[in-house]
Structure formats: C-alpha cells, structure tokens
C-alpha cells in the first residue's frame, strides 16, 4: 500500500520481535512458576511458630491430613482446588543502581532538565530516565514523588507510560524513574507541525487520551496535570499518558485537596475559583483544552495569571450564571466576582469560527468538555461513546499514522514556553480590582463570526 510507509523488512522485524518477546514471556512464566513452587515449599518449612498446640492448631492439622472426615464429604483431593484462581505473584526488592544505564542525551532542555534518554547496558534497550525533584525536604521524601511512583506502579494500561523500575544514584537524593522511551510528546510535535493533525488522526489521539483518563478514573486516580507536554506519542501512533507528578488517589466522599494543581492553561474554572473539593471533572476540563489544542495547534486559553486565565475562559465561553452553574458564587474566590456579575447576563457560547475544521458533533463534544459547571461535563467513559467518534471521518488506524523525526531521540530541545505545573505554596486569592478589569474588557472581546452554540 502506497500510504503505508513501512517496508516489508519492517514487518518482518516486527514479527521477529514479537516471536522473541513471546519466547521471553514463556521463559519468564516458567521461571515464575518455579519460584512460586519453591516459595510455597520454603513457607512450609521456614518461619517457626514455637508454641504448643491448641484447639485451632489441632483443627487445622487434622483438616490437612484428613479432609474427608473433617467435612464428611468425599471430594477427591487431587482435583480439589484445581479450579481456584491464583494471583500472579509480584515480588519486591531493593532499588537497583542508575549505573546500569548509559546516558545518551537530555530529552528536555527546559525547566529542570530531568528527563534523559538512556541505554540499558545489558540488553541495549532504550529507556527514559526521569530524575525526581527533591527540592522540598521539610517533610522528608517529597510526597509528590511518592505519589508519582505509587500511582504509576498501579497503572497497567496500553495508553499509560510503563514504569519499568525505580533506581537510585550515589546519594539517597538521586532517585530515577526508569520508563519506556517514546519518541515524541504532543506539545513539541504540535509546535513543529505546519498543519494540525487531520480530523481522523485527531480522533485516534483523543480516543487514546480519553481511554487512559477513563482507566485512571476507574482506579480512583486523578491525574491533575493533563496537558500536551505530558502526552507521549511513539512512531506507531500510540499515545502514552505520562507525568504523574501531580497525580493522587481520591475517594468518596471527596477529600479536601490543594487547588494548586494543573498547569494554568489547562486548569478548570472551579480550581481557579478556589474550590477545595473537586473531582475527576478537572481532568475532563483539561481534556477539553487538549482537544481544542489538537484542532488548532495552539493552547486554547493562554492566561498570564489566574485572573487573566479566567478572563480568557469567560471571553470564549461567556460568563457563568446561577442557571448555568448553580452555586458557583459560593466558591472562595467568587466573592470578588459578586459586584461585577450582579448585572451581567451574558449567555454562554462557544464560537465555531475558532475551530474551522470541526463538525457539529465535534463542537458539541468540545463544548461539553469545556462546560463551566463541573457537573455538566461528561465522564471519561461518556466521552468515549460520543457520536463524534462514530461519524465520518472515522479514527485513523494507528498503523497508518505518519511518522515524525524525533527530537527526543536525536537532539536537544528548545526551551518551553508553557507555564509549568504549580509549585507548593499558598493558593492565590483573587482580588476584586483585578476582576473588575476582566469584565471591563469583555465587551471588546472578539465574539467570533460563525454561529455560536448554546450551552445547556
């Protein structure tokens, strides 16, 4: 096929690789079974209860040797238990050393220069090494780093980056995550593309990004820093969600959490307004920002600070009202909004002119993701069944995805223009003066020429 860039050789190589992987898997499985057997044997002999027998002990012993009598049943012992489900057993052990890896290049020259490409000395496998940030040592090992490891370790999903192991350097402060290496992140890729992704490609990307999010949410993990630079892409069209530095488990009822999460441009309005109890909807808002960015190649709300961010959001979507977002006035930072909003009744609207390449269904999906009211946003699993993904053009097969030269693989990167995820500290308070500014400027904002969608 002409459009398929892969040569015959590439396919053969892949088959070969698959066969090798399969053999390795079988070998590992045999080893695991052997180890499991040995473990059972050791358990039976090792630990030493020193005490004399009592009622229960005798019961258990008797039961072990003559099960039929104990239960008055005649189950065949050879078959008993054969149908039981056994957990595959993981192991635990101390950290390995980072010197098993040979550093190749820094992937990101930007903020911290923490991520590098490296080669595993034994196998030659290419990996990404991410050094954990250790700046806040007032509470011992940074809890963010612990959560990053804890949540990543818990994730097994095709669209979540694989954490292979955690290793340390010469000091206890040198801790590295060893991850599978991917050629691109979406942010860098979009910056270098002349045109946005095709609609069919955008769908394939969105489906994978939302699948990863749905998986996290189903395991009670909030990512809290979804954005294009945290979405990795390989040359086979596969997305991996990365950077769990802000991620954490949540629960029901919702715990009180810090609002200092999510990089400003992707931060949901309820966070900007100071909500202390928030949930998975903040990730869905970020998904909306990512969707918009895929469509236009530009981050959709590029605020300079919290107030400016809110003003950019209101400019595109209209101001919230008691009808569209009941209760928003009682959010901590909304107090500053009261005098300004009392007379205002601007209808919320998402202008289509800003997204020229999108269908009606696509625009409906986008406006639902970017609902100001968090309860109006769909859940990740609802997004997956949206008509947008079913209408033409259909999502492009991953194998048909174009390949791009990898900056991470070959050369250093430019410095980033994106603001970083927030640091710890006090959540900002917005003041009235600044808010007055927002609304003063609103009348002059471009409303867009195309039709506008009403939000329900």
């Amino acid at each position: 096929m002409a459009s398929n860039s892969k040569s015959k050789w590439a396919v053969d190589d892949e088959e070969e690789a698959a066969a090798v992987a399969l053999r390795k898997k079988e070998r590992d499985e045999r080893r695991r079974l052997k180890e499991e057997k040995a473990r059972q044997a050791a358990i039976a002999t090792a630990a030493t209860p020193s005490s004399p027998s009592n009622e229960n002990e005798r019961a258990a012993k008797r039961q072990k040797t003559s099960p039929e009598k104990e239960n008055g049943a005649s189950t065949s012992t050879s078959e008993e238990g054969a149908h039981l489900l056994h957990f595959p057993s993981r192991q635990f052990g101390p950290c390995g050393h980072v010197d098993q890896f040979e550093l190749l290049n820094n992937i990101e020259e930007g903020s911290y220069g923490l991520v590098s490409r490296a080669r595993t000395k034994g196998s030659g496998d290419i990996v990404a090494l991410k050094r954990l940030k250790m700046e806040h040592t007032n509470d011992g090992f940074p809890v963010t780093g612990l959560r990053e490891i804890q949540t990543l370790m818990a994730c097994r999903h095709a669209n979540v980056v694989k954490l292979l192991e955690v290793v340390m350097g010469t000091s206890l402060k040198d801790v590295y995550l060893v991850m599978e290496f991917l050629e691109h992140d979406l942010k860098t890729l979009l910056e270098d593309m002349a045109e946005p992704f095709l609609p069919s490609e955008t769908k394939t990307l969105m489906l994978q990004i939302v699948s990863a999010t749905e998986y996290l949410h189903s395991t009670w993990i909030m990512h809290r820093d979804l954005k294009t630079s945290n979405l990795l892409l390989n040359n086979r069209g596969e997305i991996r969600l990365a950077d769990f530095g802000m991620a954490r488990y949540t629960g029901n009822p919702r715990p009180k959490l810090t609002q200092l999460v999510v990089t400003l441009w992707y931060r949901a309005p309820e966070l900007l307004l100071g909500a202390e109890e928030y949930g998975f909807e903040i990730d869905v808002w970020s998904l909306g920002c990512i969707f918009a960015e895929l469509l236009t190649k530009e981050p959709v709300f590029q605020g300079k600070n919290e107030v400016d961010q809110l003003s950019k959001i209101f400019a595109l979507l209209g101001t919230p009202t008691n009808e569209t977002w009941p209760g928003f006035r009682s959010l901590p930072n909304a107090k500053a909004l009261h005098p300004v909003l009392s007379g205002s009744t601007s209808p919320p609207s998402l202008s289509a002119s800003k997204f020229p390449y999108i269908t009606n269904a696509g625009l409906r999906l986008l406006s639902s993701l970017l609902s100001m009211n968090p309860t109006a946003r769909p859940s990740a699993s609802e997004i997956l069944s949206h008509p947008y993904f079913k209408e033409d053009p259909r999502p492009k097969a991953k194998e048909m995805f174009p390949t791009f030269p990898s900056k991470a693989g070959q050369e250093k990167r430019r410095r980033r223009a994106t603001p970083q995820a927030p640091e710890r500290g006090d959540a900002p308070r917005l003041d009235e003066q600044e808010f007055a500014g927002i609304f003063a400027g609103r009348a002059d904002e471009e409303q867009g020429a195309g039709f506008s969608l009403r939000l329900g």
Partner: protein, 275 residues
C-alpha cells in the same frame, strides 16, 4: 456506610524463598523477638498518633518488606525504633491523615522512655506518676532526630524498591462475612482482632499470603471461637483459597497467642532494647 477507600489494591508482592532464607541466616538470636517487639511499638505509636488501623497495618507491612528485602548493611545505620518511626511517618504521609515529624519524634520518645507502658521497655511496668521530663524532646534533639527520621525514610524506600502499595484484608473480610450470611458484630470483631494480631506475627503472614487468604483464615478461626457454623462445604474455595494455605494460616492465627505468651515469659523482668 464507610467511605469508599481510595486505595483498593488487590494483591501484594510476595516474599521469595531466597529472601526468607537470607533473612533467617542474617538474623541474630533475638531476631524474632526484636521484630515482634518492633511491630508492637509501631502499633502503639500509630494508636497514640491517632492513625487509622489501615495506616498502622501498612506501616507494619512495609517494615516487614524492608527487613526481608534490604541488605544487612542497609539495616546497620539505624535502630529498630527509628525504622519503626520512619515507616509510620511514611505510611501516614501517603494516607489521608499525614502526621508531623515532631509528633512522631515525641511519640517514640515517650514509648521508649521510663514512662512507657510497653512491657518490653519497662518490664516492671510504667511508674504510676511518670515524670514528663523523662520523655521531653528538646529543640536540639528534635532537629537531630528529625534528620535521622528523614534519612531512615529514604533508606526504607530504597530497601523496598519504592513500592509502597499495600493491599489489606479488612474490607475483604467484611465482604466475605456478608457473603457467607453470618454477619454478627461479635464475629466481625473477632475477625479483626485476629487480623490485627496477625500483623504482629513474626511469620510475616502479609508477605507470604495474599489478603483474600488472610481474610478467609481469620474468619475460619473466629467462627470456630465464637461457635458460628459455616455450613457450606469447603466454603473457602468460593474465595479462591485452597486447603493447604488455609491450614497454614489457621495454624498461624491460632498459635499467635501462645507465641506472645512464650515471648512474655522469655523476657520476664528483662528489657528488650530497640534503640
């Protein structure tokens, strides 16, 4: 209804035969006693720090993993007391109820002082009017202890390969009791007592068996003790536990009281230092 627990892991990494043998070979004569006392210290500290039982249990399991997977030289730098403090601090930090390092240092100072109610610390019992000066932690001491706590925390993390996830049997046990149709407050209480006591077992039950097996065994033992009949034949198989594992665990839960008694006799009148 209890809140949905945020961290519902299903399974734990298990100890390997080599790890168990290495532990046995590297442990000194009092190894079992030290681990038993250390687990009690951790539990007592957790209670004084008002931590939920799940957090205390997580700390004890992490501590056990550390004993098993760290190299002997990793364990040299700190006392059993400091390792206990570091894991409690770590487990609390990861939970919904973190505690300040100052509280941890204070509580451990108290529990290892002349005023401590722990018998292996004060074999003659705690004085009736303890002197607060005995466990007062000065600013200077605190600063030093805090630094040690932090370094020790990192040593623990490196020793266990940073896998802090611990699956526990408590909520499983409650579900199983319901499924078996024998819900009663006294049975549930007894099951939890066994599960809590099982954490202290030097047999490292949480490293050798998965939570579902621990839950089933505790129910088996508790049902016998409270005279509740579990009619269904081989009911444990419904929960994917085989007879062999059940037998081992029933024995372990059943013999723990005797082990504790034997330990108390062995150390009667003698202090066991965890410092």
């Amino acid at each position: 209804m209890a809140p949905i627990s945020s961290v519902e892991y299903l399974s734990n990494p298990l100890v390997t035969s080599n790890q168990l043998l290495d532990l046995k070979n590297s442990e000194r004569d009092n190894g079992l006693s030290v681990r038993f006392a250390q687990a009690q210290l951790t539990s007592a500290a957790g209670i004084l720090l008002r931590l939920p039982q799940e957090v205390i249990a997580q700390a004890i399991v992490l501590l056990q993993r550390f004993w098993v997977s760290s190299r002997p030289e990793d364990r040299e730098g700190f006392s059993p007391k400091t390792f206990s403090a570091a894991t409690i601090y770590l487990a609390a930090k990861l939970s919904a109820t973190p505690v300040a390092p100052r509280s941890v240092v204070n509580v451990y100072a108290y529990l290892t002082s002349k005023a401590s109610p722990l018998l292996f610390v004060n074999p003659q019992g705690a004085p009736t009017d303890p002197d607060p000066a005995d466990y007062y932690v000065s600013e200077g001491t605190y600063e030093r202890e805090r630094q040690r706590l932090f370094v020790c925390e990192s040593v623990v993390l490196v020793g266990i390969g940073f896998d802090t996830r611990v699956a526990l049997p408590y909520s499983l046990a409650l579900t199983y009791i319901q499924v078996l149709g024998v819900s009663s407050a006294s049975l549930a209480r007894r099951v939890f007592e066994h599960l809590n006591a099982g954490l202290l077992s030097p047999q490292l039950l949480h490293l050798t068996h998965q939570p579902h097996a621990l839950a089933v065994a505790a129910i088996y033992v508790a049902a016998r003790e409270t005279g509740i009949k579990l009619v269904e034949q081989n009911w444990w198989e419904v929960f994917d536990v085989d007879r062999e594992d059940l037998g081992f665990l029933v024995l372990a839960y059943g013999s723990l009281a005797n082990f504790a008694e034997a330990e108390a006799k062995k150390w009667k009148g003698i202090a066991l230092s965890l410092d």
